[in-house]
């Protein structure tokens, strides 16, 4: 097992290298660079800038160098000094910007994942065991609604509900009076009061998908001969279901770790913008629009790393859960 994990970590190195190269390349693909988009914004607002000064800025930022030189300088900075480069737009080191955002992103992602698991497991189990019952049909309908309604609409509706009926301050993670306050019990309660909206919205489609997957998987497993074997032993029905088929149908729950994390980080940008969440999505979006290449590149690199770690964790958990993977 230890050898397997070590091997997987070794495999991650070339993968990450490839991903960083590709992401940097994609950021560089559109014509122009940060300066040209800055100039365009400035001339839109009627300002002008001396061409000589533009050339000076270019050489200061290193934008006049070829692509591969820029890339290796950036990568070398990360590897040697943990320096992810400098954000042109924010005038700050990228690492400072990212760590701020990554913390809240991870918090919301992990809570959403827990929400997805906690809600979809009992419903999926119920739907499979009581297939074609009224309850199953109701949950199926809700599930399809969860899949079909765009997240940002759900976000707007929940914000309206929270504001108009519950009288909450909505948007962001904290009420204005707590935003810059030091940590306290009240701030924590305020955080919880804000968190439920993004968690429900972000988790809704994942929950609906996992309910469907669990229902389908468990329905298949319930018809397998080993379930009949368990019944023939004289086991009570709830033990028959929980010990045998559910255990096997759980695999997709664990593999969900691998795909939910990147989905939560990159797929919910619109929700994060609507809800004004301080997560990675909006910042990444902004960085891509303004061609703030070191910031965007570092984000994509970190997201890739997170995805790979998520995959690794889910694979290790799967191996622990299923001896066919561990020993087969």
């Amino acid at each position: 097992m230890a050898g397997y994990i070590l091997r997987r970590i070794l495999y991650m190195i070339p993968t990450l290298f490839g991903m960083s190269l590709i992401s940097f390349l994609i950021i560089e693909l559109p014509p122009g660079d940060y300066l040209t988009s800055l100039l365009a914004t400035m001339s839109d607002s009627g300002q002008t800038i001396d061409p000589a000064q533009v050339e000076l800025l270019k050489s200061i930022y290193g934008l006049d160098q070829p692509f591969y030189v820029q890339y290796f300088k950036w990568i070398w900075g990360i590897l040697s000094r943990g320096d992810f480069g400098y954000s042109f737009e924010w005038n700050q080191p990228v690492s400072k910007l990212i760590w701020e955002r990554m913390g809240s992103t991870l918090l919301i992602s992990i809570l959403s994942l827990v929400f997805v698991w906690v809600v979809s497991f009992p419903i999926g189990l119920y739907s499979a065991v009581k297939r074609h019952s009224i309850g199953d049909h109701v949950f199926t309908l809700i599930g399809f609604l969860g899949l079909a309604i765009p997240n940002f609409i759900l976000a707007l509706v929940l914000m309206y509900v929270a504001f108009a009926w519950l009288g909450q301050s909505v948007g962001g993670l904290y009420s204005p009076e707590f935003a810059d306050a030091p940590w306290s019990w009240d701030k924590f309660v305020d955080l919880l009061a804000h968190l439920w909206i993004p968690i429900i919205i972000i988790g809704s489609s994942g929950t609906a998908a996992l309910i469907r997957i669990l229902r389908a998987n468990l329905t298949d497993e319930l018809n397998k001969p080993y379930v009949l074997t368990a019944r023939a032993k004289g086991l009570p029905e709830h033990e028959v279901v929980l010990i045998y088929p559910v255990r096997i149908a759980l695999n997709p729950f664990v593999s969900a770790l691998g795909w939910v994390l990147p989905h939560l980080v990159s797929g919910v940008t619109i929700v994060a913008i609507v809800l004004n969440l301080p997560t990675a999505g909006p910042l990444l979006f902004r960085a891509l629009v303004s061609q703030d290449m070191y910031l965007a590149g570092s984000f994509i690199l970190l997201l890739s790393a997170l995805t790979l770690v998520g995959m690794l964790v889910s694979d290790v958990l799967l191996a622990l859960l299923d001896p066919r993977i561990r020993l087969g």
Binding site: L228, T229, G234, R247, I248, D322, P323
Partner: protein, 574 residues
């Protein structure tokens, strides 16, 4: 026990009495009467065989004895009286989720299924699954249950039980899995053992061992056994009493000798005739044409190289230095147990997979020999027009979204001959008539046909391009015995008419004996013996072949073969 008070009494030696049992399956638009007014008695220490072909209702009947009829099935009438002291409890009246019936499952009646792989959970150890059954009915502690589990594994002759108890089902061979299933069924010391096709998925020598084991345990523990099977050979070797089922009804019940030697019902006679027919060869004169296919020193090695990340190198000789000729008009059988490499040979002959070494040469219609292993794409296409394949699974090998006409015409279309719609239609009709199907069915989809009819469709497809050689891989294995002999007769008749040669791959010795002129016996990738079918099947020379032939159940209770079989101990490979 909280069951109903004993209401009825049974004759002293009867442990289980089924009377007028009826089970319906409520489908979308009709009701299927799967079991109709079935009655039988199971006596103490006796083996009762329920015999029937697929769909006769024998499995459902057996499961209903433990209250295990699943939706949409429903018990609609009759009684199942299980002895309880001096009285009896009617299992049919118990709620399938009640405590009373759970006390019967495993404790009074044990159950063994056909498919030992899927009947065991893949993610729990064997010891966990058996130990659970032990604890459920005994109140032993975890450690005591483990000891008892190891003891049970020892009783079913699993070697090194203390280590095997912590293994998973996929680490067991087929026969060992079935032994583990039997150990599980014995965990609660039941008085009755129900075995539902317990050896159908196993090789013939493994089948003989498992039947031996069950017989020994039954005598030791004084159990009664209800054995469900479609194989009259197994019945003759094991049964005391036989009940023959068809379309949900018991058509005939009687002692094993009476059933085999004085059958009353026409269906019993038909079933026996179909089985006994396969005891002899259908081929009388051995054809001595020139070789159409000549295989020499053919080998296929599957191997993976070791990798930088620590995977161990691995290599398996699936086919090991095999040579044989197929003569024109000849039926050559390739027989062997699972893993012997017989299917790999079929694939190599079609060049679906590439051989590691050796040559296959083929004599075309023009009389010239060609080397198959080096054919280019065009030559291979021509070769595959002449040499066709018939598959085992009549369900999986037909595309459910194509009509029968499209399926049969497919080879014509692929080879570019299917341009003219009228002509294709005429050819499909001709082929369907040839295999005994009504051409009116050509616009229907495969699901509308039975297993035997589907296999005929597969044969028609193989014949579409006027082939000269047909390779049939277990082509009759999925069929019931009466259908099986019909399909074999069809193939023989077609051979006469179309001057075909067959390579017939099967694990079933009776089918090989009936159909083939010569047989090659395979074991671990090698041909151990090759010769005339009659000779190999009656007087084999090699020890392995002797053990294989003697393990085949004989469909005559007066001449039981398995009890006196020869055992083959494989030499340890160097």
């Amino acid at each position: 026990m909280s069951g109903l008070p004993p209401t009825q009494s049974l004759p002293p030696d009867v442990v289980l009495s089924v009377r007028d049992l009826s089970i319906d399956f409520t489908m979308h638009d009709y009701i299927l009467h799967a079991v109709r007014q079935v009655s039988f008695d199971l006596r103490r220490g006796e083996t009762l065989c329920l015999v029937g072909e697929s769909g006769s209702g024998k499995s459902v009947t057996a499961r209903s004895l433990m209250g295990l009829v699943e939706r949409p099935g429903r018990l609609v009438g009759g009684s199942i009286l299980l002895r309880e002291g001096d009285g009896a409890v009617d299992v049919a009246t118990l709620d399938p989720k009640s405590r009373a019936i759970r006390a019967i499952r495993g404790k009074r009646i044990g159950l063994v299924f056909q498919e030992p792989m899927s009947s065991l959970s893949p993610v729990h150890t064997i010891g966990f699954q058996i130990g659970q059954a032990v604890r459920l009915h005994s109140g032993l502690s975890k450690d005591e249950a483990r000891e008892r589990t190891i003891e049970l594994l020892r009783q079913v002759e699993i070697s090194n039980p203390a280590a095997m108890v912590d293994r998973y089902a996929f680490e067991f061979s087929g026969g060992m899995r079935q032994r583990a299933m039997i150990a599980m069924a014995l965990a609660g010391n039941p008085e009755i053992l129900i075995a539902d096709e317990p050896t159908t998925a196993l090789d013939v020598t493994t089948q003989a061992e498992i039947l031996d084991l069950v017989r020994r345990l039954q005598v030791e523990k004084g159990m009664s056994m209800l054995l469900i099977t479609h194989d009259l050979g197994v019945v003759a070797e094991t049964a005391d009493t036989v009940a023959v089922m068809r379309y949900g009804k018991v058509v005939e019940t009687g002692g094993v000798d009476a059933i085999f030697h004085a059958p009353q019902h026409p269906y019993t006679r038909q079933l026996l005739a179909a089985t006994v027919k396969l005891e002899r060869g259908a081929r009388t004169v051995a054809p001595a044409g020139e070789p159409v296919l000549s295989v020499s020193n053919l080998s296929k090695v599957y191997s993976t190289e070791g990798s930088f990340f620590g995977r161990k190198p691995f290599s398996l000789k699936a086919v090991d230095d095999v040579s044989f000729d197929l003569h024109a008009g000849e039926n050559l059988g390739i027989v062997g147990e699972s893993g012997s490499g017989k299917t790999t040979i079929g694939k190599l002959l079609m060049r679906v997979i590439e051989p590691t070494a050796g040559s296959i040469s083929y004599r075309g219609a023009d009389g010239a020999m060609r080397e198959v292993t080096t054919l280019d794409a065009g030559g291979l296409a021509a070769f595959r027009r002449d040499v066709r394949f018939v598959f085992q699974d009549p369900f999986g090998s037909l595309n459910p979204r194509m009509t029968v006409r499209e399926i049969i015409a497919d080879p014509l279309v692929v080879s570019g001959l299917g341009q003219d719609r009228k002509q294709v239609q005429a050819r499909v009709a001709e082929l369907m008539t040839m295999v005994g199907l009504d051409p009116k069915g050509m616009e229907r989809y495969p699901h509308a046909f039975s297993g035997g009819q589907r296999q005929r469709i597969g044969i028609a497809r193989a014949l579409a391009l006027d082939p000269r050689v047909i390779i049939a891989d277990e082509a009759t294995s999925a069929l019931d015995v009466s259908i099986r002999s019909q399909v074999l007769d069809l193939l023989l008749e077609l051979q006469q008419r179309l001057s075909l040669s067959f390579v017939f791959i099967s694990h079933d010795i009776s089918v090989i004996r009936y159909f083939c002129d010569r047989v090659a016996v395979m074991h671990r990738g090698k041909i151990v013996e090759i010769g005339p079918a009659a000779e190999i099947c009656s007087a084999p020379r090699e020890p392995y072949t002797q053990s294989l032939i003697s393990a085949v159940p004989s469909p005559d209770p007066r001449h039981k073969r398995m009890l006196n079989r020869r055992r083959f101990v494989a030499p340890v490979p160097a």
